[in-house]
């Protein structure tokens, strides 16, 4: 019984694959259409996830830059260090003397002889300060306090843009969600039509099968397999497009990030997300086929 069931399904699977190979151009085209349609929300999702991860990294440790007045002497620097050390809200800090800052600037910008051309070092001494995670209000208070220290020229909140980025990410998510729904409907519609055409060309086969005792599920099975497999293949195309795009972008990013002394790279879609994508696309194909079969098969009644 079990073996008969398995061999029946195995047969349908084999039959469906043969069918896909029998009309390669048509089938590859519709798989590509589905894959490209899916790749848009998938790409958007990957990008959003990457930006989100990036903003998370930064937001986990709020950072401020303290620029010391240019006329400050070593006693002033020592004062600042002492004040920073005694503040409980500050986790750690790094002193960047203006000579180091200039060196770094020269290395990363390729402008080798800035100081030489200017005749002096235009940069101030600076501190990079990491504070505890806290509400925007508390952090803003801290910033103003430090701003008021006599040795300090200016305090810059390095994570202002994070909040703006997060707002943009939220909006992008909403847009991506709409996009996903619309394109999913498009994929279901494509599959609906593909199966409708198949049913038309197989009218005789369906009619005769019914005459000699085929159940509805026997007749539906090849169409549902076809839809599911095409959906799966479409999902795989979308996944491949994502991999290739991230790969290409990472290559470009290497040049850019070297300039900023960072090793930032875009992440691929996670394993769990990749599996979800394949399941979802297979399900879309199945659903389109299912709806099509339900609305067309009953019209074929054998005489």
């Amino acid at each position: 019984m079990m073996r008969a069931w398995l061999s029946q399904h195995g047969y349908v699977l084999l039959f469906t694959l043969k069918q896909l190979i029998a009309k390669p151009v048509t089938n590859i085209c519709s798989i590509l259409v589905m894959g490209i349609a899916l790749s848009l929300p998938v790409g958007a999702y990957t990008l959003i996830e990457n930006l989100h991860a990036l903003s998370g990294q930064v937001a986990d440790m709020p950072q401020m830059s303290l620029f010391v007045k240019t006329d400050a002497n070593s006693q002033d620097i020592a004062n600042i260090k002492q004040k920073l050390e005694s503040d409980e809200q500050i986790i750690d800090f790094q002193y960047i003397p203006k000579e180091t800052a200039l060196q770094q600037l020269q290395q990363s910008s390729g402008l080798a002889n800035i100081a030489h051309h200017l005749g002096h070092n235009p940069l101030p001494d600076a501190f990079v300060v990491h504070t505890q995670k806290n509400t925007a209000q508390v952090l803003e208070q801290l910033r103003t306090d430090m701003q008021n220290w006599p040795e300090i020229e200016f305090v810059q909140f390095d994570s202002d843009w994070i909040e703006r980025l997060n707002a943009i990410l939220d909006l992008s998510r909403a847009v991506m969600f709409m996009l996903s729904i619309l394109l999913s409907i498009a994929i279901i519609a494509i599959m609906f039509n593909t199966i409708r055409l198949q049913i038309l060309t197989k009218r005789d086969e369906i009619e005769i099968s019914k005459l000699i005792g085929a159940t509805d599920s026997f007749i539906q099975r090849p169409f549902l397999y076809f839809g599911t497999i095409q959906g799966l293949a479409g999902g795989f195309v979308a996944w491949s497009i994502m991999i290739i795009s991230v790969n290409t972008m990472n290559h470009k990013l290497i040049d850019l990030t070297q300039l900023y002394n960072s090793d930032f790279q875009l992440h691929y879609l996670s394993l769990a997300d990749s599996i979800s994508l394949l399941f979802f696309s297979a399900w879309l194909g199945w659903l389109g086929a299912r709806i099509s079969v339900a609305s067309h098969l009953w019209q074929i009644e054998a005489k």
Binding site: D204, S209, K210, I212, G213, D216, F218, K303
Partner: protein, 217 residues
């Protein structure tokens, strides 16, 4: 096995093919159905397989009123019947082998025993050498025999043959009748429609005649 009680069949265009027909075929019986062209033979056979539905009256198979069957149960009724269609109803995009395979796939046989059964059925109708041929490459008589092979391959309880010897020469017609007889001998109920008088000449089986929508023995 097969019972008709006051069965009438009126087609949508108003034509009355059967008019209060009564019929009783016992299990294991072999019966011929005859009548002029247009008398309603095919109609009667299609009613048994629920391919057509009666306008009034009751049709019972194995004591079950088939009008009361749920749609989902109809395929299982049809699997008990091997139907040889007057217009063959072969699949022209499949080989002879695959045409005969279809009823086995539908009934869910396991694949190992399928090929052997298909070849046995093809052998019985003398088409073993043509298993790879497509139906277009077969003669009228060969198609008819292919249709017979497809009807017997899943060993149905009831065999219904609508003009099974229409395109066959006397020799093959006799072979086919021998085949039907051998099925009948192992207990299959057989119902054959024909207007081929030579088939009816020296038969000891019951002959039913359709006339003006009524059955006469």
């Amino acid at each position: 096995m097969i019972t008709f009680k006051n069965v009438s069949k009126r087609y949508p265009d108003g034509f009355v093919a059967l008019n209060n027909a009564n019929l009783d075929i016992a299990t294991g019986e072999m019966v011929f159905l005859t009548g002029h062209s247009g008398a309603g033979k095919s109609t009667l056979l299609k009613l048994i397989a629920t391919i057509e539905h009666p306008s009034s009256g009751i049709i019972a198979i194995n004591g079950q009123n088939i009008a009361q069957l749920k749609p989902a149960a109809i395929p299982y009724l049809r699997r008990k019947i091997g139907f040889i269609f007057q217009d063959h109803k072969l699949l022209f995009d499949r080989s002879a082998f695959d045409n005969v395979l279809l009823p086995l796939q539908i009934s869910g046989f396991d694949s190992q025993s399928m090929a052997a059964r298909v070849r046995a059925a093809l052998d019985k109708v003398g088409l073993l050498k043509k298993e790879k041929s497509m139906p277009v490459a077969l003669s009228g008589g060969e198609r008819q025999r292919l249709c017979i092979a497809r009807a017997i391959v899943h060993r149905p309880m009831i065999l219904i043959a609508d003009e099974p010897t229409g395109n066959l020469d006397v020799e093959y017609a006799r072979d086919i009748m021998t085949l039907f007889n051998s099925f009948n001998q192992v207990g299959v109920t057989v119902l054959i429609s024909t207007h081929d008088a030579s088939l009816l000449e020296d038969t000891q089986h019951r002959i039913l005649t359709l006339k003006q929508g009524k059955l006469a023995a």
